[in-house]
């Protein structure tokens, strides 16, 4: 190669030009140093704010990791007595409620006709003005439908409603009214007793959702772990008696698939055997207290109706009587019948027979706090209570309806016409922070802060062994133009007329909480310095709340059950011939009654037993399914006397052949992009049957029939082998469904 100068220069020019061409723009990162440095914020270092989780009324203490004003992670607060540093899946996911893309970002006013769902943004002043004007016109005729409230917020809302005249109706679908009425009837305490799993060595559970929705699933989880492996010598056993295998039954040592609605009968059977063995075993309670209850039924009839073998019942009785610290719990499907309270009373009676009340490992009640500032609390009403409410609304008593953190149109079946309550109302105000079905009908939306942006306290003085009041402080500045519902109520309450009760006289809800806590803390750690409360308040904020010393056990109230109380069997809606299957819609572990549906982490969390994600499914016994040619994922039409739904079927080995179970939670029409138009709401099939004593909706009391529609539903499972049962490589099946599938309406 002759390297004369000219070729060399040409070469050099060409190579340099070549290497310059592909340089590409470096996009600039904006690093803005603080003009006025924030005291707490150190770049790159996390701040931990103690607060309380707002996802469910259990009120677990949380620590939120915040970096430079952005919440990154929620973890359990180790010093909080309820969850002791642990946290459930919904607790972690509540962070996505704060940063959810579908949050309502400012006050809205209805733009089209009611129900069209068209809103226009307005300013806070306009919103409050129009609300105040309506309050004045309908003074005394307002109604507040609210989710579970606690602590100072409960007081403020209650005081506000008393101030403007009108009932405060608390609606929480997860509250087990049957259990409360059974406990009240037997022990005279309107509270869910503390079942001490940790110290028990034999737990006989009649359907109680211990690991899913029992008061605080985290606390029960800790107790369960303690029961199993916490003690060196003892390993507690769990027996679950329910028609469908729930998560608790999956973890039980034995699952007994009982006939729906006959849990009480089984308890009576076990009670009879206990009493007959009573002379031999040791500490049997006052057996004479139940002469009538345990003699009403003959054991063979019990075996026939509960479809639980005689030797099974005998084995349960033997185990229950010989266990050191047995406890019997009932709930979930057991209380979801017309004889819910009766069944639960029978199960509680078992505890009485073995004298387990007030003992470690048994059923415990604790002395309530001496005059606690949060004493007068509004009790949640049962679904039957709604019927009276609707009658009153028909009589035009509630022209002004308020909604706060609840979505009755989704959580209450249409057979209870709550929609009429909305139609009768002249003006509906909603404080929800998401556009759910009920808020969609509102005329005015004044969005509340999300729990991580707001001040609140959560009082658990009369439940656990350790009395606790959680204190929730905002962990980030409010993202959008939202205001705390407490502040708005105080402002409007004062502006209507001056004579407001003391609680509403504060400027903001934070001041109200501080005054309450000043009263609370003054009883205990008051020191002589002038600003003792400031230091105590900062101490409590850092700690995440206040928890007193462990309390002694209180002896139960006397037996207030009316004489001549007898057990009667469960009634069902729809006759057996036309509707051969029982039907049980159960609250799903991740989505509860649907409030978790707009959180992507909960939607994509696989259901532990079926591993289904982002969908609703119908659990059906594999033999029943095969006998009717229903394959995994096929769409089946479930028809009840009140309508029909098309749900993809899942072969579920842990369910009775005559039972169909469907998780509640999906089926939202609006509720953000993650929840809308996904799955179905099984509550739509339910009839309006209630538990005789407590008025709780008998969710398991509706019968249905199923038939295959020939189409395959959209069912997504993490466990792929179940998804399409390993269809063949050529995807012949896929081609068939593609041909058949075109008919999907």
């Amino acid at each position: 190669m002759d390297l004369r100068r000219r070729t060399f220069l040409k070469l050099a020019g060409a190579t340099t030009a070549g290497s310059l061409i592909p340089g590409c723009k470096e996009n600039v990162h904006q690093l803005v140093p603080y003009l006025l440095p924030d005291d707490q914020i150190v770049p790159g270092v996390a701040d931990w704010y103690a607060s309380v989780c707002g996802e469910c009324p259990a009120g677990c203490g949380i620590l939120v990791r915040v970096m430079e004003g952005r919440a990154k992670k929620i973890e359990g607060n180790p010093s909080h007595p309820i969850n002791r540093g642990k946290l459930c899946a919904r607790g972690h996911a509540s962070l996505q409620r704060l940063y959810n893309p579908d949050r309502i970002r400012g006050p809205l006013r209805r733009a089209g006709k009611r129900g069209e769902g068209r809103f226009e943004p307005i300013s806070w002043d306009e919103g409050i003005a129009s609300w105040r004007e309506r309050l004045q016109t309908h003074r005394g005729h307002a109604l507040m439908l609210s989710g579970p409230l606690s602590g100072t917020t409960a007081q403020v809302v209650k005081a506000f409603m008393d101030h403007i005249g009108g009932p405060l109706v608390i609606h929480d679908p997860l509250v087990d009214h049957a259990l409360i009425s059974a406990v009240d009837a037997r022990f005279g305490r309107q509270v869910v007793p503390d079942f001490d799993l940790a110290e028990s060595d034999y737990v006989l559970s009649f359907g109680a959702p211990l690991l899913e929705h029992w008061r605080s699933p985290v606390a029960m989880g800790i107790a369960y772990g303690q029961m199993r492996q916490g003690r060196p010598a003892v390993r507690g056993r769990l027996i679950q008696v329910e028609p469908r295998m729930s998560l608790s039954a999956a973890n039980a040592d034995r699952w007994i698939p009982i006939h729906p609605g006959t849990e009480g009968l089984l308890a009576i059977g076990i009670g009879q055997l206990l009493l007959t063995r009573q002379d031999t075993s040791t500490d049997v309670g006052n057996s004479d207290a139940y002469p009538d209850l345990f003699k009403a039924f003959d054991l063979n009839e019990i075996v026939r109706r509960t479809e639980v073998g005689y030797d099974d019942i005998e084995r349960l009785a033997v185990e229950f009587s010989s266990a050191q610290a047995p406890v019997a719990i009932a709930g979930g499907p057991a209380s979801a019948h017309t004889n819910g309270t009766a069944a639960l009373t029978a199960v509680n009676a078992l505890n009485m027979i073995r004298d387990r009340v007030g003992k470690p490992g048994g059923v415990r009640f604790f002395e309530s706090m001496n005059p606690s500032i949060f004493d007068q609390k509004e009790a949640p009403i049962s679904e039957r209570g709604f019927l009276e409410l609707i009658n009153e609304a028909d009589a035009g008593r509630f022209p002004l309806v308020h909604l706060h953190h609840c979505n009755p149109l989704h959580t209450i079946p249409p057979s209870i016409p709550v929609r009429r309550l909305f139609e009768r109302a002249e003006f509906i105000v909603s404080f929800n922070s998401f556009m759910d079905e009920s808020t969609d009908l509102a005329d005015l939306i004044l969005p509340d802060h999300v729990s991580l942006e707001a001040w609140s306290d959560h009082e658990h003085l009369d439940e656990g062994r350790v009395p606790a009041v959680g204190l929730a402080q905002p962990v980030v500045r409010p993202l959008y133009d939202t205001r705390a519902v407490g502040d708005v109520m105080m402002e409007v309450g004062r502006s209507i007329d001056e004579g407001v009760p003391e609680i509403l006289s504060h400027e903001t809800i934070r001041d109200a909480i501080r005054s309450n806590w000043e009263a609370l803390l003054s009883q205990r750690n008051r020191t002589n310095e002038p600003d003792w409360f400031e230091t105590a308040w900062i101490e409590r904020l850092k700690e995440g709340g206040w928890w007193g010393p462990a309390r002694g056990v209180q002896s139960p109230g006397q037996d207030r059950r009316s004489p001549g109380y007898e057990y009667e069997s469960a009634l069902f809606d729809g006759d057996a011939a036309e509707f051969p299957f029982y039907f049980y819609p159960y609250p799903s572990l991740a989505l509860g009654y649907g409030e978790g549906a707009n959180l992507p982490w909960l939607q994509e969390m696989p259901d532990p037993l079926t591993t289904v994600v982002w969908a609703t499914w119908a659990e059906i016994n594999p033999k029943t399914a095969m006998s009717r040619g229903i394959r995994q994922g096929d769409l089946i039409r479930v028809t009840s006397p009140h309508g029909f739904l098309d749900i993809p079927a899942v072969h579920f080995p842990g369910i009775r052949p005559d039972l169909i179970a469907v998780p509640i939670g999906q089926g939202h029409r609006t509720y953000g992009r993650y929840a809308a138009n996904r799955g179905v709401n099984p509550l739509a099939l339910l009839g309006a049957l209630f538990d005789r004593d407590s008025g709780r909706l008998a969710t398991a009391a509706t019968r249905v029939r199923i038939e295959a529609t020939g189409r395959t539903g959209s069912l997504t499972m993490i466990e792929q082998r179940e998804m399409h049962a390993m269809r063949d490589l050529i995807g012949i099946d896929r081609i068939n469904t593609w041909i058949r599938g075109s008919g999907k309406e």
Binding site: I74, M220, G221, L247, V613, P653, G654
Partner: protein, 240 residues
């Protein structure tokens, strides 16, 4: 990796991070699964991706039915990367993206990975997940992303790292204070959130750490032990 200074505690030498999972305590409540998603910037896989079997879970609860109705039982098995001692995914990676750290962890270097995916095949536990598309968070969900953990792009293999950002943070803290990491000081997100304390994490080189005691129990076994991968996770058999 600098060796920790000779600290006061008796145990010399490097750490060997291990985990014990008590199947008798695990209830399959999936708190660990969501905690892991929150901590490690795991993408939100919508319904379409889940239907294609591409949902990414660094830890998953495997559910096995046993028996026929009515005496049917369920076994839950939390499965995550076993941080194997002799990991089958390490020799097969052509770019050393999957390598073994002196701490006994099986590390995945995101920047080296070119997406050949042989490690995914060779892992007998199928715990290696792949980014088939770029992750997407509808604003403002991306505010929640943890700055200590890299957000992976498409074409990258990813897996459980035992929350290596937490391990490193506490190791640096301990090193600054001239001591060894205390037992229980480091807790990955799943261990920290497990309500029944089924998951226990610690240094196996320290004989009296909680994880060592549990691992020595006779209930202990390793998943697919016969393959000789020497996993760092000891499962404790559920008593039925």
């Amino acid at each position: 990796m600098t060796e920790p200074k000779q600290s006061s505690s008796s145990v010399p030498g490097p750490y060997k991070w291990e985990m014990a999972i008590d199947l008798d305590r695990c209830t399959g409540c999936e708190a660990c699964v969501v905690a892991c998603h929150a901590e490690n910037n795991i993408r939100i896989s919508g319904e379409q991706e889940a239907a294609e079997g591409r949902a990414i879970n660094w830890i998953r609860i495997e559910r096995y039915w046993e028996g026929e109705y009515p005496d049917v039982t369920v076994k839950f098995m939390p499965v995550l990367c076993q941080q194997c001692g002799d990991a089958p995914c390490e020799p097969v990676c052509p770019v050393y993206a999957s390598y073994h750290t002196p701490d006994g962890l099986n590390a995945q270097v995101y920047n080296r990975c070119i997406g050949v995916r042989y490690c995914g095949n060779n892992c007998p536990y199928t715990v290696r997940q792949f980014n088939w598309f770029d992750p997407h968070w509808d604003p403002p969900l991306q505010e929640q992303l943890n700055p200590d953990v890299t957000v992976r792009q498409n074409g990258i293999m990813e897996k459980c790292t035992f929350c290596v950002q937490r391990i490193r943070e506490k190791k640096e803290l301990a090193e600054k204070e001239g001591r060894r990491v205390r037992d229980g000081e480091i807790a990955p997100a799943c261990v920290q959130s497990c309500p029944t304390s089924a998951l226990v994490f610690g240094d196996r080189n320290d004989p009296d750490s909680q994880v060592s005691k549990l691992a020595r129990q006779d209930r202990g076994f390793h998943l697919l032990e016969s393959l000789g991968t020497h996993p760092a996770i000891t499962y404790l058999k559920r008593i039925t």
